[in-house]
Amino acid sequence: MSKLSSKPLPKPLAYLGQAVVYGAVAVLLGYFSTSPAYERFPADKAQLVLSFTHIGERTTPCRKLTREEIAELAANMRRSEVCERERVPLYVELSLDGEDLYSASLAPTGLSRDGAAQVHERFTLAPGQHHLRLAMRDSARETGFDYESELAIELRPGQNFVVDFRPEFGGFRFGRQEGS
């Protein structure tokens, strides 16, 4: 029995060829592990992030139960008031140097609309001096705001400036600033 196979390459040439293939794989691994670079954000801009979660007021206020109503409840279910679960949507406005940057009505989460409303938005801004104004309504009122804040900021290129809302600290909270 005899075998026919394509003529083998001389050893040194074959090893050289193998080295070339390994080299190509190494280049493939080395190159795409860091390149091409991804310029995802212009280095000469700054970013403002508006991000918070907050529960609005109830759509209808809780109602005190009358003495008779309480008496009708089973002994282990007795309480003094009844509350609807649904919450109002939040209304938020963000303006920069007098111009509207963002405004939205944020619906409460959850199937019965009883959860916190959320916002997480990023804005690309020119660095430098800015005047920020934030306002939010978290109650059933039609006009006006429950929280308002204004702030003069100085953004440097590449800065990430965060605006949060923490009612326990009295309302809007602003990220760390240059020099503060």
Partner: protein
């Protein structure tokens, strides 16, 4: 159509690499094994890194910097190993998937191996992403924010995850502890998934050949020294990550999330996963029927179970009266209908009386009795002398290449479905003057072991072997791919010349193999 182009591309490339590496070291034949090799390198280098890694928002970065710069000769190299072997794993996996797809190795009972491969891909990518996250440099910061926003898009988490990465104050050391747990657990899950992946594969190739392993290792060492893995600047939540050197093997989806949208990337990931998962059942349908056992002929020798490449045969205690201990049993949902078991079954011999020709095991679509009928009919039709009979397979060199060559051709699903006694039969009954056996190129058998088992059977190293009395100079083997019909024709021509030389009564040597000088002379003569 696309599959055909891909398959052709692989066949072409494999042949080129064969000339450089030889079949034994050809990386394309050992992609799975190469994947395991990369995996172990990642695991070992990972353990080293873990020893020096500190979990915490500031110390994490510092500990990685220490390894990279102060301990570059060991820790730095381990870090580079860890990165590049991970990248190699993704590269190998991608080529492995495309190759299995190109060769259509995902239909029928193979669905299991294919489908269990899909989660592996997800787990590997997830491992890599959490790895880049641990370094807590600007790339990690970017990954943290975009990953969090991606999951937040689903709207199923009460408090948005991204708020954990809002300001330096919101960062939590415990989060890093969780992260490192995930980064260890997910690769271990991948290993478990790999074990499941190989459940239906007999003797899976999980260790690359030594030559390939050495070459790959040297390549990794060189790459690690030439281009050590380094970090970006430390994460700083007060700054926006701007210039990012992404590892595209793991992070290619991230720019897409920002360019398209989070929803679009969810849609892409889900669609790709779904398509991959249903691919095995898309047309054309899988038709072959599984092998069947004829207990009355099975003597329980176990050769079929030994040779089956897909774990489809189990040897079980005898269920009938015959005086043997065991019997073969086929699991039809695992059987891929290669017929290799019939080729291994000792009673599958054409020398039996016609009425007796029932082997212990065979394919219902191509029984051993049919094979003998085909053999006799085909040989009776040969007009050109010396008479050549070709045993081929459906996946190697195409039989169409032999039209007009004057040779008779019998194809089977796999060349190892041929019981060696058929070769003996064709020659000793003087049905043909020479038998050419052809199948897939070495290392590329459609059914994993077909050409290997065939060679071993002919060379007397594997049961059932070709009897010694069969004149080996009247047998040829050719391992050629579906693209190499021309090679098959050429081989037939050369074989015919050699057989002709054998026919000529020569002083001093009856059935001797002619040497190359004689062959040339014979050739010259035949052209006169």
């Amino acid at each position: 159509m696309i599959r055909g182009i891909l398959a052709n591309g692989f066949l072409w490339l494999e042949a080129r690499l064969d000339t450089l590496f030889g079949a034994r070291w050809n990386p394309l034949y050992q992609l799975g094994a190469l994947g395991f090799f990369y995996y172990w390198i990642v695991a070992v280098s990972g353990i080293y890194l873990y020893i020096f890694f500190d979990t915490g928002t500031t110390v994490a970065y510092e500990s990685v910097e220490y390894l990279t710069h102060e301990q570059w000769y060991l820790g730095g190299v381990q870090r580079s190993f860890h990165r590049y072997a991970s990248d190699g794993l993704v590269l190998m996996m991608a080529v492995h998937v495309v190759r299995e797809y190109a060769y259509g190795r995902l239909k029928g009972p193979r669905w299991f191996t294919w489908v269990t491969g899909v989660p592996i891909a997800g787990l590997v990518i997830a491992s890599g992403i959490t790895g880049y996250w641990l370094v807590w440099d600007q790339l990690a910061q970017y990954i943290a924010i975009v990953t969090a926003e991606w999951f937040d898009w689903l709207g199923i988490f009460g408090d948005p995850i991204v708020r954990n990465f809002l300001t330096p104050e919101s960062l939590d050391d415990r989060f890093f502890t969780l992260l490192i747990f995930i980064h260890i657990a997910v690769p271990l899950l991948a290993l478990l998934a790999l074990w499941i992946h190989l459940q239906r594969i007999t003797r899976p190739a999980i260790n690359p050949n030594r030559g390939l392993a050495v070459g790959t290792f040297v390549m990794l060492v060189a790459l690690s020294l030439i281009k050590p893995a380094v970090s970006h600047a430390p994460a700083d939540l007060v700054a926006v990550p701007t210039h990012l050197q992404l590892d595209w093997y793991y992070l290619a989806a991230y720019p897409l999330m920002e360019i398209l949208s989070y929803g679009a990337v969810w849609a892409i990931v889900l669609t790709v996963t779904l398509v991959l998962l249903v691919l095995p059942w898309l047309p054309p349908r899988w038709k072959p029927r599984p092998a069947v056992v004829h207990l009355e002929s099975c003597n329980g020798c176990g050769r079929c179970a030994d040779d089956c490449p897909y774990e489809a045969i189990l040897m079980r205690p005898r269920s009938d009266e015959l005086p043997f201990e065991q019997e073969a049993r086929v699991n039809p949902s695992l059987c891929i209908s290669c017929g290799i078991c019939a080729g291994a079954c000792p009673p599958a011999t054409p020398f039996r009386r016609k009425s007796d020709l029932v082997p212990g095991i065979e394919l219902p679509d191509l029984t051993v009795a049919t094979l003998r009928d085909q053999l006799e009919a085909a040989c009776a039709g040969i007009e050109l002398k010396p008479r050549i009979l070709v045993f081929g397979c459906d996946h190697g060199a195409p039989r169409q290449a032999l039209e007009g060559s004057g040779a008779a051709v019998i194809n089977q699903p796999c060349i190892a479905a041929l019981p060696p006694s058929f070769i003996d039969y064709a020659l000793s009954r003087n049905l043909a003057d020479g038998v050419l056996i052809t199948g897939c190129r070495e290392g590329t058998c459609e059914f994993r072991f077909g050409n290997e088992w065939t060679t071993q059977r002919i060379e007397g190293q594997r049961d059932p072997y070709l009897r010694k009395r069969v004149p080996r100079e009247r047998i040829r083997t050719l391992w050629a791919s579906a693209r190499e019909g021309a090679r098959l024709c050429e081989e037939i021509r050369a074989f015919r010349d050699d057989l002709q030389a054998l026919e000529r009564p020569e002083p001093g040597g009856g059935g001797r193999v002619p040497d190359s000088e004689e062959r040339k002379a014979a050739k010259a003569e035949s052209h006169v």
